[in-house]
Subunit: 420 residues, 2 copies
Amino acid sequence: MAEELIGNVLVAQSGGPTAVINASLAGVVTEALNYDCIEEIYGGLNGVLGILNEELIDLANESQQNIRGLRYTPASALGTCRYKVRKNEDYERILEVFEAHNIRYFFYIGGNDSQDTADKISKLAQEKGYQLRVIGIPKTIDNDLVVTDHCPGYGSVVKHLCTTIKEMSLDHEGMGQHDLVSIVEVMGRTAGWIAAGATLAKRRNTPEDPPHIILLPEVPFSAEHFLESVQVVLKKHKFCMVVAGEGLVDADGNYLTTSSTAKDAFGHSQLGGVGDYLRGLVEQHLGIKARSAKFGIAQRAAAHCSSQADNDEAFMCGQVAVKAAMEGQTDKMVTLVRSEADHYGCETGLAPLGEIANGVKALPSNWINEDRISMNYQFTKYAYPFIQGEVDVPYENGVPKYVCLSKTMVDKKLGQYAVS
Amino acid sequence: MAEELIGNVLVAQSGGPTAVINASLAGVVTEALNYDCIEEIYGGLNGVLGILNEELIDLANESQQNIRGLRYTPASALGTCRYKVRKNEDYERILEVFEAHNIRYFFYIGGNDSQDTADKISKLAQEKGYQLRVIGIPKTIDNDLVVTDHCPGYGSVVKHLCTTIKEMSLDHEGMGQHDLVSIVEVMGRTAGWIAAGATLAKRRNTPEDPPHIILLPEVPFSAEHFLESVQVVLKKHKFCMVVAGEGLVDADGNYLTTSSTAKDAFGHSQLGGVGDYLRGLVEQHLGIKARSAKFGIAQRAAAHCSSQADNDEAFMCGQVAVKAAMEGQTDKMVTLVRSEADHYGCETGLAPLGEIANGVKALPSNWINEDRISMNYQFTKYAYPFIQGEVDVPYENGVPKYVCLSKTMVDKKLGQYAVS
């Protein structure tokens, strides 16, 4: 056991929510209750923004029911943000808030931008000699964090996608006296992890089983190859199921989208429209009816169809973060470590925040088949365990009954701060 | 009991599939097994097309597991079609096939186009003195059949929509430091039954609860009123959740769509794009970020999130159709009849096919609030029971395990027929 550090916990969530980001929060709260040196358990509202604004809530004041309900409640119960901390003043202010509320343990649930923020907070605290333990908890449907084998949130988005692809395929199969090309546009800005995951909707990993064509941002789009592949599928089947990552690019690296390109606060391009682009291509060049669907935000919020394996791992990451901090660890992110055994097993590790912060894990190119539109057994073997098991979501009046935190505000101790 | 008519059953499915169309099929097969006068139970592949082509399968040969699995398997297990029977020769051919296979009971699961076809088959049989009992089984997510209180398939599409709206709303709520308008485009060509159903996602039927704005095809779209309403919502909330029926029209009756208008075999306009249209409107006129989602076919195929009440009623309609035929009824469609009691109860009735065939049930205008963008308690009271209960779908390897009929073909007895 490390030197005892008495003080308060602060946990916050950042970036795009997932179906299981609150399961990690539940893990933190549940575990934190076990330690005497933890006096208060606070939640920061809207990620780092709430910390800057000193908007903290008392999580120990939430009912047991609420904390338990976080296990299956999607979206960000604490609120999240896409605010990018850039200024030194911001970091100074964060430490000021931490000192004012005697925050000694900071847990930040988020992707690489968030781990970068956590890293800088941690470094500044060390510099100033303020005793603080900072542990990051991985979260992203994009599955693009380095070091960790995979990320909580990814399995659930893939499970929902595969379920939907399977249902749509059945629908198309039953409809088919005419050729139909069905396109599903999925999230995935730079990496095709989500689009690739759709391959798990196949019963067997053969070209016969839908989805027939998977278009990855990693593979420069060739209209010719795509249209040829569609025709090959339609010769054998009544329909062709296509899954396309929103970040699809042509050989010159330009996004395939019908809409103009805007950028968000992090400089990421705002995408959309690749489904409609492909639909137009098929209809114009092949004269075949095409449909496109785009689930948007529903993909990452679909807790009603989330993965128990993913949920369990998200919860575990929250618990492990607290345990690691209790053991004196700091400036680390919890990672998921795959066991080497024949059957899937998942343990945890720790990696320096700095290592996670600005890396992006690419989909291995040797997991893509030679045809460039399907995934091989190595991908299937990798991703298959993440979608196993179904989370039992309670329903009330016909719709899922999710919890909403009561959010007792912690009294402010500092003056206002101008977030800009 | 009516005069005993010994012979074979033929059941077929038509039009767009639903999450529970196979539950009705299961109802027919399960009930038909109870009667000695029924010798064979055949299924026609791809609706009336399969009958014209004499493509019949032996449903009695399917495993018990398969028939039970139909209860939760979405899409059309027999295959369906949108072929419109227009020529007299087609009707003659159908009767020829019926005679060749001694079909004495014909059950057609479909919407009003299908009930029209069933009606004409029944009339021709009577004209020719061929003993045949024809019973229609209602099916349509559009909920637009007349006489029947509601239609199997509707409750499930609404349950999936409400679940998704609820999840998306939670996601938006947690994200919100900036204003966001989120638009979901839903099915519904002429009537807003599905869009209206989204109101059941509200915890309480107040303007505060999402979805905040429901745009119905019945209410001519006014860009001004819409943009004003969005602004009112955004003054109180961080996001504005909009549900729009795909068949939204302006004051002149023109569809609001960014794409060109094609027509299907029945002369219905092929729609799409109202979500993107509204997104553009918001972004251009209000300068506020907007997102649109379109679930497409996934809406009607989402058995993983289907309604047990809907499923039970779909199954019951199949059973009742067989019972009615056994009692000597013909040329009727099974209807759902709401009990007059305070609590919801549902029985069945029968209505002449001709009455169903070409009617379209409109959403009562007095169920729409004065603001024209929300539904009142009368609608809620009406639709609320249809989304109750959750169908327990079995999963295998992380995705739903749906059944696929083995489809033992019945030997053909006639020559080929040229379907045109």
